[in-house]
Symmetry: C2
Subunit: 340 residues, 2 copies
């Protein structure tokens, strides 16, 4: 009963109950500037709303005002640690602004992606956030051009769309710098696939830090891996089995899973973390970093901040404002735990 009523309750019901016209109710609800509403009338109306339990119909409001209030968010995978953070960041900013997120996962399938985009356009999203799991170049369906779009953790090959990226270089620099500050001079770097932006940027940061510290470059300390614990285990074994004195006393790992593999290699050799070998990871995958023993010092990818910033940029674009920066890079904070 209450259900039916509240479902069908309209502004006219409120107006009737308060003894005013529907227009007046609308003015009150929207704080219409320039509308002179005496306090007494306003009070009556708000009271009526309260008594009746009226809720404005967001859809009807959107139609009349020609502002859907929706932003679209397309990610590759919702499962997994990163998409959730982007969503969290985007949500918190969007909802505060009475805007809402229509979320879709493409699952890496172009057909699903296109379908999702279609639905979003039918819902008249005022902007689109497109986020990837790992930092790379992407190509968007043409339909994305119909609406302001911001790329998160990726960039388009043509370089036309605004994008938000993690600052890989500064990340690599900070990781290395942290180890240098702890007194290490032989720092192994178990990198990701050397062809991807994350690997390139982090290596650049790694080398800059060494250069600044006046340490001569030893390329044999940098080994590529493939983002798995196993590959990092192998790589770590290789580095740790060098003759003592030439063996690195610290390992900077391309991600936390790889740090897991490195941990195994270190422990197997009876070495202690961080006493004998210090380790820094990357990505801050909480489930790993916070539960490894000892807990892993690592760099966090700023997914939540990227989500927030993405909404900010979309809001600006949707309002027709120009963007101050087309390509934004966000800092990767260093999370100190116990592995250095």
């Amino acid at each position: 009963m209450a259900t039916n009523k509240s479902q069908r309750l309209t502004m006219s019901d409120v107006a009737r109950h308060a003894g005013v016209s529907r227009t007046t109710v609308s003015f009150v609800l929207n704080d219409k500037p320039g509308a002179a509403i005496p306090d007494e009338t306003r009070r009556r109306i708000l009271e009526a709303i309260d008594e009746l339990g009226y809720r404005p119909n967001a859809g009807a409001r959107a139609l009349a005002a020609n502002r859907s209030g929706w932003f679209g968010l397309i990610t590759e995978i919702v499962t997994g640690p990163f998409a959730g953070e982007v969503i969290t960041g985007a949500q918190s900013r969007a909802w505060g602004d009475r805007r809402f997120l229509l979320i879709a996962a493409s699952e890496g399938d172009p057909a699903q992606e296109a379908a999702a985009l279609d639905q979003m356009l039918e819902h008249r999203v005022e902007g689109l956030l497109y986020a990837t799991t790992w930092h790379r170049a992407v190509t968007l369906p043409k339909a994305a051009r119909e609406v302001p779009t911001v790329l998160v953790n990726c960039y388009d090959a043509e370089g036309e769309l605004p994008c938000i990226l993690p600052d890989e270089v500064s990340g690599g620099y900070k990781a290395t710098r942290r180890l240098l500050d702890a007194g290490h001079t032989r720092i192994g770097f178990i990198n990701l696939d050397p062809a991807i932006p994350a690997a390139i940027g982090r290596r650049e940061g790694y080398e800059r830090a060494l250069r600044e510290a006046g340490i001569t470059r030893d390329p044999s300390l940098v080994v590529p891996g493939w983002a798995t614990a196993d590959s990092a285990y192998t790589a770590a074994c290789e580095l740790l089995d060098r003759p003592a004195g030439d063996r690195p006393t610290a390992l900077f790992c391309g991600n936390d899973r790889m740090a897991m593999g490195a941990y195994d290699a270190i422990k197997e050799r009876g070495l202690r973390i961080p006493h004998d070998v210090a380790v820094v990871g990357f990505d801050n995958q909480e489930l790993i970093a916070a539960y490894l023993r000892p807990k892993l010092t690592t760099l966090a990818l700023p997914f939540e901040a990227m989500g927030t910033k993405g909404i900010d940029m979309l809001a600006a674009l949707a309002a027709g404002q120009p963007l101050d920066t087309h390509r934004v890079t966000l800092d990767c904070p260093l999370l100190e735990r116990s592995s250095v």
Copy 2:
């Protein structure tokens, strides 16, 4: 330019372009049964839609048809491994049915939860999915009564709302049974906080499996933990340091993080997994289970299936159909890897 046109494109434009009335276009778009539309006319209209790049306005359609097409999904935290799976499951089922998910995270804050619910009701959601991170009892805001609601991974104290829960008992049974089948008879159980439903159910399953196998119960093999790797490490040490012959040859851990701690205790003692001590986890947190060395055999909580089933139940409720079961329990599949 193209942007402006496509934003403002309406059904009337299509009608004009095809030389028919707007009504006819609507009939074609909705495959209106009982409307006699000659093939030639239909073709002309579809062609016009295509040429113009027309997209129906989902909001306006919802208003006119009085069917929002929205379902609400409230979770505690979007970050973290579980919410994503629920979302994935719910999304895949919902989108296929041309229904959409309005997602919100309460962050455990009742105020945010209430605000989210308000927004959802303003968007006229036709149903609500309420999911928690861990299996427990919850109390929903009264406003949730205004719309069909299904609980996921939780239940309401009053027992009025339909809910979907993991089958903890069968999970505990399967884990234990797997170890029994591998020949183990002294199976340690590092449980979660013994007061929560997951711990109670799994212990029941554990004991039933032992009973069925004719193994006399040894309560000292069951130790409580607190869901952390550290607490499990301590507990595992205790179990493993029992005199040989009395030491368990297998450990069933309350979750995968705890299995991580157990791994450390086992490896520290120079024991091998699974040769000397077998381990079974719970939760299947991919980041841990798939990257521990050796990979962890564990039970998966059926989050994705719970999300899917949740949408099914909501769809039925929203259509006014009665539910066959008020309380659904879903199986926790055993994922065989290399730790048994």
